[in-house]
Symmetry: C2
Subunit: 280 residues, 2 copies
């Protein structure tokens, strides 16, 4: 890292950091330049540890030491707090930011190789939900995530942050073909369970048992509100629900449903036995 002090928020070297809360602007800017943003020391270090190449780092002057020890061949921009706030659009106070180069997504075959349990996300729109699902999936031993073509981007800043960096360590890729995508996954040996509160579904545990002990399982989760598309419901091998009480609640939100489903999946082979974790 070579340190460069900049005062002017309009300096073109800071262009990667423009208006971080403007979702539409950022989607275009990040796609065009092949970058993603990491926020906070812990997440930045995890991106670097996962082998992503940094384009630059941004810190306020009073936090200049925050990323010490991080070895990288990229500029570190040190800016006054007012400059940071005008540039990114919010108070950076204790924060650190970094822009990283994206990498091409792995092929479906690479992501599925050796995987036993995967999560398949159809058209989720909320980056917070995508990030939280990656964190739960990684923590609960899911092997990979597969995204439908229109699912929200796991490398969007908010998803990265909420995932606590799990988007860097949990392998994932995106299907090219929404319509035929599930047939491709089934062809790769996965028993596909559509999570849905709809009629005609089995309790989750029973549905998982129906996959048989030797087959990989794909847990399909649909968009916030409307759930899975008719096409995906139809092309799944079975439908599963999480048993609900009668207290006028007919479903969980998608991140809670994902956590429960990944947990139940983790119990399938006798359960995870490594380390403990809750809260946070």
């Amino acid at each position: 890292m070579h340190v460069i002090e900049i005062d002017d928020p309009a300096d073109p070297r800071l262009a990667d950091y423009t208006r971080l809360r403007d979702v539409n602007l950022r989607r275009h800017l990040e796609a065009e330049h092949g970058l993603f943003m990491a926020e906070g020391e812990k997440v930045i270090r995890r991106a670097a540890d996962a082998g992503y190449a940094p384009r630059s780092f941004l810190l306020t002057r009073r936090r200049a030491e925050a990323l010490s020890g991080l070895v990288a061949d990229a500029p570190l921009y040190l800016v006054p707090e007012e400059t940071a706030e005008r540039l990114v659009g919010f108070d950076l106070h204790r924060g650190a930011l970094a822009a990283f180069h994206r990498r091409p997504l792995p092929s479906l075959a690479q992501v599925l190789a050796g995987a036993r349990g995967i999560v398949v996300l159809e058209d989720l729109v909320d980056h917070t939900n995508v990030g939280a699902i990656f964190r739960s999936a990684a923590g609960l031993g899911v092997d990979a995530v597969v995204l439908a073509p229109r699912c929200a981007d796991p490398l969007y800043r908010r998803a990265v942050k909420v995932s606590m960096g799990a988007v860097f360590t949990l392998p994932y890729t995106r299907l090219d073909d929404w319509y035929g995508g599930l047939d491709e996954l089934r062809g790769a040996g996965f028993h596909l369970l559509a999570l849905t509160p709809g009629a005609g579904s089995l309790p989750l545990r029973e549905a998982l048992a129906g996959a048989g002990p030797d087959r990989g399982v794909g847990l399909l989760l649909g968009t916030e509100g409307d759930g899975l598309s008719a096409r995906w419901l139809e092309r799944a091998d079975a439908r599963a629900h999480i048993p609900m009480s009668d207290r006028d609640v007919d479903s969980l939100n998608v991140t809670a449903a994902a956590a429960v489903a990944c947990y139940e999946l983790s119990l399938r082979g006798g359960g995870l036995v490594h380390r403990g974790g809750t809260g946070g």
Copy 2:
């Protein structure tokens, strides 16, 4: 409902709806006037169904029919879209709003009467998390929620919305005494499990089995990030963790942890058998 058309966002009759995104202002205003806000037709109907008394309703003119059939002795303010946006601070477009009177919280004894599984939230600060936990707890058959004195308010607009109205149907109350609160719960017959990724904790299922089949269980969840306080960890009967894989994730976020813990609790008595639900 008697319909009143108002154009001026500064009209004092609209004061309940001022700047809904200004959390500090709203906290004072709602506490002082003993009100809470409900947003969206479904949630408004659920508040009314649960017996909360409305103070007023707010709709834009093009949505005047949205709350038809809802019988209430309260004014319905119809406003132009620009008035709504200037008043509440965001685009109301398809939305409906209502202000309801709060009720005194029930006593701890009332909330615990007949309860077998409860969730106890220490100092959560995020209203979205509180709302999501109420939705999961209600859906998964938890009987009541008990809040520490400083836990975020379940009747705050965002919590109400994310809970999909579960804050109206799931009984809850607040402890007066943070320091001695857990002893009070234990005195009422509950085995208290502290969810924590810390060392010395049991896997969740094993910890639940340790409660014995006849005793009520309280699942304790702590603040985002730091988790439970040292005091509550010390006063719990046992510590429990959700078994994690080794993928650099040491814990779930608090709403995911709550969903998994409530799910595991729901399996304790042979499981819920009522209705199915996931996604949404």
